[in-house]
Amino acid sequence: MRGFTTMFFSLLLVGILTLAFFTPVLNAGIGESGTIAADAGKAKTVKELIEMYDSDSCAECHKEIYDQWKKSLHARSIFGPEESGRTAATFRTTLLNGLKKWKFSGVAGPEDVKVEHLRICTKCHLPQLEDATDEVASEIMNMIVNWAEEGDEKAEETIQALNINCLICHNRNAITHKWTDGYPQKGVVYGTKDGDHFSESMPEMRRSPIMQESILCGQCHGLGPNLELDNPTQCATLYGYYLWSYQAEGGRETCQECHMKKSKLGHNIQSYRSSAMREAALDFKVEVTGFQWRDGSKMVPLTEVVVEMTNKAGHAIPDG
């Protein structure tokens, strides 16, 4: 009898623990429980995080868009340019010259790195890290260190698979005003129209009110210091320029119009690395005049050079 009670209690305990484990901590908003992340529960490994937003299946039907996207930096958003891995390298510098050096960060090595530490970068470079446990953050940091210090190729591949893919723009980050428009629901691709979507895992298509608005891109393209962080960082500040310089001076085009449509690059969203974008960047006019200026009784032979540069982008060039 006694043995049974113990067993009963221990079973109950396991039950409570499991429940606690699978119930994600939700905010007050209605419908958050229907998001991809809430449904899956926090990812406990890098592999689980990659699977949660796996977009490889989209290539089946959207091959052209997929191939375009694959060439963009969004497809390597914590690795950076293919040849250099500049972004991953800077994540490592952030650990060495930042997190480890700051007295009050609580980080002595990669194993101490939590989501809140990486958030100072992943807020924009990998927003879905919010849907993972602290173990995933330290796993990512470890992989980056192994890639940088030992040339670990498998780590490099995995780091590149953590990116801003179809499901980040067309689901997770497709809605900014969630109390107004609802939380993005699993099984739905958000685009420019409502209807059926011919995909088994994503059977519905819904219009996102911001898909063609600059704020979609503005979520990650920065306003200035990220003051909501315990230790604010600053990287991209381009959306700030878009709002307070470009729009303030009368600019009316959206990010999508310049970067996806006029550029004809579609989902291969690029900047100075693309000749189309370099061409569109600015008007450059130089006038030179040779003349002899009379300074009292003497002639001063001079060349006047006037360089005029008119930035035609929707923000400052370059970005911080």
Binding site: T233, Q234, Y241, E249, R273, L282, L302, V306, M309, P318
Partner: protein, 114 residues
């Protein structure tokens, strides 16, 4: 930009940097480098959108003042120079970074005086 004489001699050289200069940790007068330490802007010379930025230079042709029969006269030593203006994009802010630095615009013209 440079000005060069026909004999290859460079008589003028100047460069200007256009970029937002981020502050370091949101305090003081020092520039920050990595995104982990950047906060704020302490100076901004980036090319602003929708506006025209003008840079002007006056470059003298080489001359020499000599005395001829008791009078000071100005002798112009060269009457031609070639102006080169290049606009480079340096994504990581280093002049010695051939892999990443990109030439945006280029201008060359020979200037002559009488």
């Amino acid at each position: 930009m440079t000005a060069t004489l026909d004999n290859g001699k460079k008589i003028f050289k100047d460069s200007k940097v256009f970029m937002p200069v981020p502050g370091r940790m949101g305090r003081g007068d020092k520039m920050g480098r990595g995104p982990y330490e950047k906060s704020g802007i302490i100076r901004d010379s980036a090319l602003p959108p929708m506006r025209t930025i003008t840079e002007k230079y006056d470059i003298p042709f080489p001359f020499e003042d000599v005395k001829e029969r008791g009078k000071r006269v100005r002798k112009i030593l060269a009457r031609e120079m070639t102006i080169n203006v290049e606009l480079w994009y340096m994504p990581y802010g280093s002049r010695n970074d051939d892999d990443n630095n990109t030439l945006f615009r280029k201008f060359t013209k020979k200037v002559t005086i009488e």
